[in-house]
């Protein structure tokens, strides 16, 4: 029995590429049954995601990033790398993933392993707009990376027939 695993998509679905995290959750859950994993659209709930994050042994996060890569680039960051990359940076949101994980660590209930799959955003200004074609194309790569991470954690991804 694999340990509890949370796959979390964060971002705002009303705002073009900012919504790629929740969109990836949507596609992943349509494609696969993943026993032992919980798939959650976390929206922009920040600290309010602590209840589910602190209960997870392993955490996979999908999010839009702006790290200076070409739009559509998929980055996979593990544990300490997440802190290193985001140290000093402050998202416009008061509780970033950094704060969320820091808070979980502070109460001694942090996931043992954390992987962030980030997709470099192209357009984050278009209110009400769809994900750009560039980022939509990158979603397949992000999903492939997610599959590899989840299988590596001993989870089975069972293709849905419907």
């Amino acid at each position: 029995m694999p340990s509890p695993c949370l796959v979390l998509g964060v971002g705002i679905t009303l705002w073009a590429d900012e919504g790629v995290g929740p969109r990836l959750i949507e596609v992943l859950s349509q494609r696969f049954d993943i026993p032992g994993a919980e798939l959650v659209d976390g929206g922009t709930q920040g600290l309010y995601l602590l209840p589910i994050v602190s209960e997870a042994e392993r955490l996979l996060v999908f999010d839009a990033v702006r790290l200076g890569h070409a739009p559509g680039t998929v980055v996979v960051l593990q544990d300490g790398e997440i802190d290193t990359v985001f140290r000093g940076a402050l998202s416009l949101h008061q509780t970033t993933l950094h704060d969320l994980l820091g808070s979980a660590r502070l109460i001694g209930q942090n996931p043992r392993q954390v992987v962030l799959i980030g997709v470099e955003a192209e357009d984050t200004e278009n209110w009400g707009g769809n994900i750009t074609i560039t980022v939509a194309r990158a979603m397949e790569e992000a999903l492939r990376q997610a599959e590899a991470v989840l299988r590596g954690w001993g989870l089975s991804l069972i293709a849905r027939s419907d």
Binding site: I12, G43, T44, L50, L92, T95, R105, Q109
Partner: protein, 597 residues
Amino acid sequence: MSRTTPNGFVLEETSRRVAIDPITRIEGHLRIELNVDDKNVIRNAVSVGAMWRGLEVILQGRDPRDAWAFVQRICGVCTGVHAIASVRSVEDALGIELPQNANLIRNIMMLTLYAQDHLVHFYHLHALDWVDVLSALRASPVETAALAQSISSWSKSSAGYFKDVQTKLTNFVGSGQLGPFRNGYWGHAAYKLPPEANLMAVAHYLEALDFQREIVKIHAILGGKNPHPHWLVGGVPCAINVHGTGAVGALNIERLNMVREIANRTREFIDQVYIPDLLAIASFYKDWAAIGGGLSSKNLMSYGEFPSHANNSSNDNLGMPRGAILGGDLSRLHEVDLKDPAQVQEFASHAWYKYPSGNEGLHPWDGVTECDFRLGSKGKIEQDRLINVDESEKYSYVKAPRYKGEAMEVGPLARLVIAYVAGRKDIKELVDGALRKLDVPLTALFSTLGRTAARGLEAQWAAARLVETVDDLFANIRNGDINTANTEKWEPKTWPTLAKGVGSCEAPRGALGHWIVIRDQKIANYQCVVPSTWNASSRDPKGNIGAYEAALLGTPMVDPERPLEVLRTIHSFDPCLACATHLYGPDGAPLASVDVL
């Protein structure tokens, strides 16, 4: 050179300009620019909402029954309140009556949110303005235990417990990953708590972090899921089944008991941890009962909330009454009518929007959201970086909402004072009790400390009311009423060609209104006036300043480069610059800065 605004505040544009961008530990993006005199006292304050919120544009042409699902994505902490204002606006437009169970369940959702949101705000967004985390490392656990036991009967108060917390904190700080404690002004001279009070507060910061996880289970039980609980026009999407057979996932006695149990524990936590901490911390900062008052001693407004009975909008039916106070006259409550075109209006003279009517105010039903970014002639941008805005022209994405032409403060302080003035006994007892314990007069409420205290007292009120409301729901179900939704007017063909409605809600952080116009079964116009639009308001054509700007005036600062005092007052409003983006910047690119110009 100084001038007095029509609403009675003196502004001096002295030589030193300080920009704080962004204000940390809030939702959304807020920039504050200040002018300080040679004694570091704030003489002019400019509140700049630096993000455009174009939600209204997205909703046009959509099905009004779906609007709640869009608006609850506006922001990370206000999900439920936008959803409730939205479904209420559609119900008002179409004349849909609400079953009593749905009314009670919505009240339970909202009271739960008050308890949780106020708790999280106090400990996780605001306490660090008063509590020096690093000083807690020097505390004596034995003396901390003595302090904790002297103010509360809460069980976790032994010296061993505080020693453990201190060790945990030492290890955490030692790891170099400060997480939520980074960006703090630790060691700042404005921190006044002894190390033991700091350690006690940090211990409760951790307990509250753990405990808030419990409270939201109520949202998951009644809203189907959390995050993003479900809502429904005409009711709540939550069937009641007390017989144990039939609908799967329906609300049954076992789940209702769970709600009751969580409600009781929430009340206990607030009574025994939050309130004693609040009073203990406040007793060291009584000077802040004379700082940061701003508009609060003049103009306050509440739309009213918590209807006891469904479909009754009279003030007597509301747990928190509706009304407005103008010019500091506490002997008179003014009526608030959100449909009166002359009462609530929004102005865009100093905001980055374009109105066809120019500088005139628009009632939200006639509201327009058209972006118009122009920096102003004295505004400066250098290398893509905003240096300063020009507040004599357009300077913010926050419009200027006005009630009968006046800038208003909204939020827990406004609600409590209005309930107090309306003669509500439960509120009067709560407020008078706290004032007695702190030995301060009623006017002390009109301050930064008063705002923070009012929020705590309201959390206490909400938790007590939550327990009662769960009992009311039990009683109503026991009387045989299991109806939770009215679907009579669900089908668009039952709707008129043109319908207009208003849905209001008192969000934890203040008065929230959604105005909707439905034409041919689709949304033709949708305008949200959110609490932080009132409080973070830009200036209006007459030059009246809003609540944040007013509250900062006259504040003495120790060091403008470490603007802890500004954070105290701004955080006391529980700001939420309703938008929320989640993008990360690359390593080392500081998006936060304090510039002294």
